[in-house]
Amino acid sequence: MYQYVLKRLLLLFPTLLGAAVLVFFLMRLIPGDVCELRMAGTGAYFDKEALKICQDELGLNRPILVQFWEFIRGYATFNFGDSMYTGRPIVEEIVLRFQLSLQVAIMATITAILIAIPLGTISAIKQNTWIDYGVRAFSIAGIAMPSFWLGILIILGLLITTKSWFGAAWMPPIQYRPLWEDPVYNLTMLIWPAVATGYRYSAVATRMTRSAMLEVLREDYVRTARAKGLLEKIIIRRHALKNSLLPVVTVIGIEFAFLMGGLVVTEQVFNLNGLGKLFVESVTNFDYNMTQALVMLVVAVFVLTNFVVDVLYGWLDPRIHYR
């Protein structure tokens, strides 16, 4: 097992290297750079000399392979450089937003699990009844509704209900404070985006739970459990659920990793300063260093999430062994 963990963690490095090659060269295929954007972006007159000085300062005029080497060497020594746009250290820029994005992703995942597993299970047990149809409609709505739109609805709903019930409109706070500094404040801020994204996220997981559960309920060992005279709820909880969770865990893992960098629009709606927003800004600003750092971060999150999912497989199904 330890050997397996070690092997998986070592595999992170070639994956990161591949991602580094891709993001580094792809970014530089786009015409323009951060200096040109800053000086010529307005369309007004600019000094060619100043442009060159700016590019020299950021090292953009050096041969591309040298730049690549510097990039790799920096990462190997945990020196991630400065943002090309703001000039501040990358780590400093990312840490705060990473906290926020990670927290939203975790909360959205918890929301999704809390919705998906009970609903998917009930839907499968009550297959082709109005409960099943209701759950399926609810989950289809989750896929069809963009989460930013749901976010807008949530904010509007909060404004209207607080106004009519308490006389004053209440809005979730906008300034981020970490969970351990002010948990109530933090949660009242982040619960809404977590619910908005968690609902959409749960839709896929609910359908997955339902179909996996339907399949498991037809298995011979469920019939054996019934023949033993067990209560139906024990049959579902102990005999069926654990077996039907494998595909659900897969979906949840993929979605979780996606949430870490993919919540661009939802972050916009709730005015959150998260990784998604930073991602878009860094690409439009030609902030190579920042984009590279973010891509590497998201790749690392994906690899680690997959690893966690694999370990969960082994825990859920004793037939799966890792060597």
Partner: protein
């Protein structure tokens, strides 16, 4: 011996897109305490459905018991509530299934799967249940029972898993065990071991046994009485010895002739049952075996023959039993 189980005109149907399948079409038989009764027939004749119907394990939809009674120790199981039925399942009647590879839950330990039944029905502590499980595993001939408790089904071979299933079925000291093709999925050598084990244990513990099988060898060796099923109906019933030596229904005769026998010359040709079993959605009022029958007479078209007595305790659903018996005598 008192009658333990009485199946009375049991009817189970399935709704399919092709129509209503009368999988079990009014079967009646009984099982006495401690007795071993075999239900024999080819694939699709309704023998498994009949067994599952006793336990009310037919999934609805598509299947449903539409009539008849299953009297077990005086109670009609068909009329029990779900909660009452759960007390019968696993406690009064144990069940062993055909597929040992898939009948145990792959993600739960052997120990849990046995002890949960014991705890549920007998209300004992986990320690007592563990002790019972170890005792049961020893009883069915599994080595190192303490260690096995913590193992998962995939650690065990098919034969071992079937032993675990038998331990499970015996766990709450039931009066009756229903074994649905318990050896079909196993190697021939293992088959004999499992059958010997079941026979030995049921005799020793005084448990009645219903064995569902298509294997006539199993019947000859292990059953006290035999019910031969064809197309959802029982067509012949009698003591195993009588069924073997005086088959009185053409189908039973054909089945016996289709099996290789050690007491016949090696070059003797097998004589398979010609034709196909009928489509259970399109049965008419006549005898369902007549398209494949060598003895059919005009009357077979119009009426399904009732079970006629051919000897004490031996009945066959055929108008021409006398001819069948005579032919069998000539042949042997």
């Amino acid at each position: 011996m008192a009658t333990l189980l009485e199946v009375d005109n049991l009817q189970t149907q399935f709704l399919t897109s092709a129509g209503i399948v009368k999988a079990v079409d009014g079967i009646s038989y009984d099982v006495e305490e401690g007795e071993t009764v075999a239900i024999v027939g080819e694939s699709g004749c309704g023998k498994s459905v009949g067994a599952l119907s006793i336990m009310r394990l037919i999934p609805w939809p598509p299947g449903r018991i539409i009539g008849g009674a299953v009297r077990f120790q005086g109670k009609d199981l068909v009329k029990l509530s779900d909660a009452e039925m759960r007390h019968v399942r696993g406690k009064e009647i144990g069940m062993v299934f055909q597929e040992p590879m898939t009948s145990l839950n792959p993600v739960l330990t052997i120990g849990l799967q046995i002890t949960e039944t014991v705890r549920h029905h007998l209300g004992v502590t986990q320690e007592e249940a563990d002790k019972r499980a170890i005792e049961l595993l020893g009883l069915v001939g599994i080595s190192e029972p303490e260690r096995r408790l913590k193992q998962y089904p995939h650690h065990l071979s098919g034969g071992m898993r079937q032993r675990v299933m038998i331990a499970l079925a015996l766990s709450c000291e039931p009066k009756l065990i229903i074994a649905d093709e318990p050896t079909t999925a196993l190697d021939v050598t293992i088959q004999a071991q499992i059958l010997e084990l079941m026979k030995g244990l049921t005799r020793r513990l005084g448990v009645a046994l219903i064995v569902i099988t298509h294997n006539l060898g199993v019947v000859a060796r292990y059953a006290d009485r035999v019910n031969v099923m064809y197309a959802g109906k029982i067509v012949e019933r009698g003591r195993a010895h009588d069924i073997y030596h005086r088959p009185s229904h053409p189908y039973t005769l054909a089945l016996l002739k289709s099996v290789p026998r050690m007491d016949q010359p090696r070059k003797a040709k097998l004589d398979p049952v010609e034709g196909q079993p009928p489509d259970l959605t399109r049965l008419d009022e006549g005898c369902s075996f007549r398209p494949r029958c060598r003895f059919k007479v005009e009357h077979c078209e119009r009426e399904f023959p009732p079970l006629n007595s051919v000897a004490p305790g031996h009945v066959a659903a055929c108008f021409e039993t006398a001819r069948v018996v005579r032919l069998e005598k000539v042949a042997s």
